[in-house]
Symmetry: C2
Subunit: 204 residues, 2 copies
DNA sequence: GTCTATAGCGGGATAGAC
DNA sequence: GTCTATCCCGCTATAGAC
């Protein structure tokens, strides 16, 4: 094993452990042990546990956000954008089963992670603006019902898409299903969610 | 301060600290300090940090669940039950702002908390059964659309109700609002959620 | 770059005096 | 019931040998 391998092994182990147990419950000792390297090497390569975590955290957030990029367009109808969003979000969450609740946990626990990484939210902010524009435009056109606060529609989409994934252990237990069926249910649910949102907007 | 006061002070401090920082990030020393009692007293009264936590955790779960009890009835229509549920859940969550994400965090982190306390979920299970019955009955009556898996409807209700509260820091940041407006938005949203669910079920 | 050894701290818990 | 003192552990981080 040459040096590159060791550095990488540390990264991989740290990533796995942080995702599984969070920052607090992961020790540098655990990381070194899992990577099968000497304890001191971790700090040699990454300065501190916190620096290592920050590196990995940013990486994971980027990975998730990249998976969520889709062609949202001002020209699309609001309903088309909704369908697009629900589909892309669900598939991205299915693809990264553990990442979602990890990011969520850490952000909620340390809201300061948000402040220092606000740039990462830029993409999200643009997305919201385009989405709201398409809603307002279709309201004026009379295609969809009048909504006092269009942001609430976005909140509903995100709630419906994200919640089952961050509460997966709970959902699996209550519905008494395993991982495979969970994914199937989430895929089937895409259509239900889209239909629900679209029916609400277009029935008035 | 007599003995009852000290025991109570420990409970209160522990509760506040656990809710604020979680199990891992709260030390027995912090608890004793905040309660202004001697360190050894905490273990004298509650045996161990873990026992103390379990006591408080169960208490908090009960408190939340009690706030969520409502007259769900097999005689109500599915739509009535939905409106009831959305209203009761939202108000319970507004009433216990910090409890929700605390419970959620700890359950997700230690799914074993679920196993040992499965009895606490009994009420929830009964609720689900009655709800599904009312859905199935109204489907047969032809009042609402056919649903392949009625449990998904329940998942949608819970997703919509709970998500904004467990991701409150995120929501406040993205929507750029403070606590007061957050509560107002959540109250206004109750009608939107109910309407959305009901419109979907009754439009077919 | 890799190791051993250890500093230095903070944690949970308890023995034993009062 | 309440305190002091302390045990013993695990943690992060680093000094210093190789």
């Amino acid at each position: 094993m040459d040096k590159r391998d060791k550095k990488e092994a540390i990264l991989n182990s740290a990533r796995a452990l942080f995702i599984e147990n969070g920052y607090q419950s992961t020790s540098v000792r655990d990381i070194a042990k899992k990577a099968d390297v000497n304890l001191a090497l971790v700090n040699y390569y990454f300065s501190s546990k916190e620096d290592l975590f920050d590196l990995i955290f940013d990486n994971i957030v980027l990975q998730i956000l990249n998976g969520m990029k889709f062609e949202i367009s001002a020209e699309n109808s609001a309903c088309e954008n909704i369908e697009h969003a629900v589909n892309t979000y669900t598939e991205a969450l299915i693809k990264n089963p553990e990442l979602t609740s990890f990011i969520f946990q850490e952000i909620i626990k340390h809201s300061e992670l948000l402040n220092s990484r606000i740039a990462t939210l830029q993409h999200t902010n643009n997305f919201i603006k385009v989405f709201i524009n398409s809603l307002n435009r279709d309201i004026e056109k009379g295609i969809i019902r009048k909504i006092d606060n269009p942001e609430i529609i976005i909140l509903n989409i995100v709630s419906l898409c994200v919640f089952p994934f961050i509460s997966k252990p709970l959902v699996k237990k209550v519905m008494n299903i395993d991982d495979k069926i969970f994914v199937k249910e989430m895929r089937d649910r895409k259509k239900i969610i889209s239909d629900m949102l679209k029916t609400y907007l277009t029935t008035f």
